[in-house]
Amino acid sequence: MLAYRGSRYLWVALAVSVTAIAAYAWHSPDVPPNGGTWLGLALGTLAAALILWLMSFGIRKRAYASNAGTVQGWLSAHIYLGASLLVVATLHAGFQVGWNVHTLAYALMWIVVVSGVFGVFVYVRYPQFLSSNRASQTTAQLLGDLADLDMRCLRVAGDMPAEFGEALRSNRDRTQLGGTAVALLAGHDRSRVVLPAGHAGGGGLSLRQVANPEQAAVLDWLGERLAASADGARSRKLQELLSLVGARRTLLGRLRRDAQLKAWLEIWLYIHVPLSFGLLAALLAHVLAVFIYW
């Protein structure tokens, strides 16, 4: 992606940028530098052509039968020439900005390119985290393991008082992985659980729903019950439950991290692509406005 064919597109992009900078430095127009001088128009045409070509990457990516270069090469060129667009467009504008459609296009361009740079960053770094987190299991397998643990918990609680079964069932049902974009991206555990209110042995049937991040509420509750248990068999079962819920906690942590990494790997594209279409519209408006009010 970055080192395709010896990073040849890095050199192409650098050449484009350096040429633009040199031309801008040499050119001394009668008016402040702007998009309307001959150099401004030339740079503007180059920038517009670049934008159109950059956006055509989506088309090339889906043209499976195409022989026009490789998609890898196109991606490498897309990244480097997209970065050089910042230089070309800024020099085209002559550093003049204001509250108008022209700067709208410019600002959209900046957001698109910066989100793309972030995308490169996550694509380079995150896959290895993803692999080491999963440790050779697929997400589906992890989820299968989770279901398995849930089942075993219920089986162990089968011949215990009903409150255990109900608590563990609510633990399974109210486990939250992801749920909102913020929770997904931040890796928050918004799981909840319904536990009996009051201490062990209390007669009350009232229940309370509590937050259960990283299974903490359930583990605490089971620990309390274990400490208060006077029955050897009950204690053994409680220890088993503790072990199972502990394993569940580890598993959920891995699933959450897996989902979090995948979300960061995807989120930038939800900004990059839609805003690039906004940029396309703004570019069209910018060019037409310039020539309507020539």
Binding site: D30, H102, S136, Q137, L184, K262, F277, A285, A289, W294
Partner: protein
């Protein structure tokens, strides 16, 4: 180690199908991969999930996966195995058996019928951004159409229809002001809400006529208003709007030098011949006459003498500003007037008895007439003249007879003639003016016309106010202290200006000099010679 593996399959009706296999090797590997000794076909099992090996003769199960294996119902990473122990991997169950002779390990391997494969992903888990409503295509369309609407469609509707334009400009929806690439120059700010004042038609450049629509009335002072762009010259070629910083007036030398480096090539009929590219390098010398016509006898050196001049109030040391007063605005000086600027010292009195009476200045005939009137009145004693000091007491006696009156008037006329001659030829007038007799009568004197030029070098603009600093006193440029005659031209040569003013290229201006472009002193739209001549000559 040698292991006996018993593969069990429970059929319907409780029948058990059993197959024994012997294995010799380092360890019994368990996993989903095809190279494992015991392949566990369950999604939940890792490719290489665990292995059983001997440690000190005892079989031990080691798990490679962080999740662990279930040994006797508890999750373990590592566990020693004894007969009757159960190891569970997903739905696969291994039961450790008593190893027969010759074997270190024996276990049975079967799929647990009670266990189910497990749900993969309950629908309630929302683990992907796409599941949370993020959608690239929907947002792309929304942004594309939204931006197109706001940035293009709505303002364009205003451009096409004045009624819509008025609505847009009065409301919060974007009008064509959103298309403005930069601010207007301050003088044009009133136009910032009326783009159509200059941009008359879509896709049409700003025409000269658009500028002349407002500027034709005052432009006649600067250029011919009937000028068109037939010769390719457009107002907007030099006057560029919507720039930051605002550059309504081009001040770069190239705007002038492009033609003036060889004006004949550009305009063969021109009378302007010198080649000019830069003030410091090749600007021609100032077109000053050698002598100025004056008609006055006036020595500056006498008046500016450091020991002072005699005046009505005693000895006074005069400075330049005692006579030369700046006009409002400070560009030039007030034209001199005799009574106001010279009259403090140069008194036009004529009667020692009444020194406050002065003859009028400026009209030779009026002097004579005044003196005749004056002496006639004095001699006839017909009224008390408060200006004459003590009241002239009328001679006691009867009123003068007509003969006496005639004699008195004759005397008065003679006296007036004497005083006139005295003033013109010997005293006041001849001090400064060139006086000649124009006829035989006593009052026939002619004063040569005085010509005081107030405008020099009219093709350039110069402001004294801009130059009035402690560094540049009057004598820096005007050598008045040495001037003996009013015909001296006291304006400086170009060398004096070049002491401070350098050329037009800022990069080559020496330290403590001023970069001086053409437009610093010259106006493009010349008053005397408009660049675009009138299309028709006005008779």
């Amino acid at each position: 180690m040698r292991a006996l593996i018993r593969f069990l399959r429970r059929g319907p009706g409780g029948a058990i199908d059993q197959k024994d296999k012997l294995y010799d090797g380092e360890a019994v590997t368990l996993g989903r991969a095809t190279d494992q000794v015991v392949q566990c076909k369950d999604r939940r099992v890792a490719l290489a999930h665990a292995r059983i090996l001997l440690r000190a003769g005892q079989p031990v199960v080691l798990c490679h996966v962080p999740g662990g294996v279930l040994v006797n119902g508890t999750l373990q990473r590592e566990a020693r195995l004894r007969p009757d122990d159960t190891v569970t991997l997903g739905a696969n169950v291994l039961r450790i058996l008593e190893p027969p002779d010759g074997c270190d390990l024996a276990f049975s391997f079967e799929l647990d019928a009670e266990a189910h494969a497990g749900d993969v992903a309950p629908e309630s888990l929302r683990l992907r951004l796409a599941d949370l409503g993020f959608a690239k295509r929907r947002w792309s369309w929304a942004l594309f159409l939204g931006v197109l609407l706001v940035a293009l469609a709505i303002p364009t509707a205003g451009v096409r229809s004045p009624a819509v334009q008025a609505t847009l400009r009065g409301g919060f929806l974007p009008d064509d002001h959103f298309w403005s690439p930069g601010p207007l120059g301050r003088v044009h700010e009133a136009l910032s809400t009326r783009c159509e004042a200059c941009h008359e038609q879509p896709f049409q450049r700003v025409r000269n006529e658009a500028c002349l629509a407002c500027h034709a009335t005052n432009l006649h002072q600067h250029a011919d208003a009937s000028a068109t762009a037939e010769d390719g010259t457009t107002c907007s070629g030099c006057h560029s709007e919507h720039q930051e910083p605002a550059t309504l007036v081009r001040d770069d030398p190239a705007a002038c030098v492009n033609c003036h480096r060889d004006l004949k090539a550009v305009s063969p009929a021109t009378e302007v011949t010198p080649r000019v590219t830069d003030f410091a390098a090749d600007h021609p010398a100032f077109a000053l006459p050698a002598r100025a016509g004056s008609g006055l006898t006036f020595p500056h050196d006498l008046h500016l003498d450091k020991s002072g001049v005699r005046s009505a109030a005693g000895d006074t040391v005069l400075g330049c500003d005692d006579c030369h007063v700046p006009e409002p605005g400070g560009a030039r000086f007030r034209p001199l007037q005799m009574q106001r600027d010279c009259g403090d010292c140069h008194l036009l009195d004529f009667d020692p008895a009444y020194p406050a009476r002065f003859v009028p200045h400026g009209d030779a005939q009026a002097v004579t007439a005044f003196l005749v009137d004056y002496y006639s009145r004095r001699f006839l004693e017909s009224y008390a003249d408060p200006l004459a000091g003590p009241v002239v007491v009328r001679r006691a006696g009867p009123k003068p007879s007509s003969a006496e009156r005639e004699r008195l008037l004759r005397d008065a006329r003679e006296q007036a003639g004497r005083v006139t001659r005295d003033l013109f030829e010997r005293r006041s007038c001849s001090q400064c003016h060139v006086v000649t007799r124009s006829g035989p009568s006593a009052g026939d004197f002619k004063v040569e016309a005085v010509e005081i030029r107030t405008t020099w070098l009219s093709n350039a603009k110069f402001s004294h106010a801009a130059h009035g600093t402690a560094l540049t006193g009057c004598e820096t440029c005007h050598q008045a202290l040495r001037s003996k005659s009013a015909t001296d031209v006291l304006l400086p040569a170009i060398a004096t200006c070049r002491e401070c003013h350098a050329g037009g290229d800022a990069r080559s201006t020496p330290v403590n000099r001023i970069t001086s472009t053409c437009i610093l002193c010259h106006d493009f739209h010349a008053v005397k010679e408009p660049l675009w001549p009138a299309a028709a000559q006005v008779p």
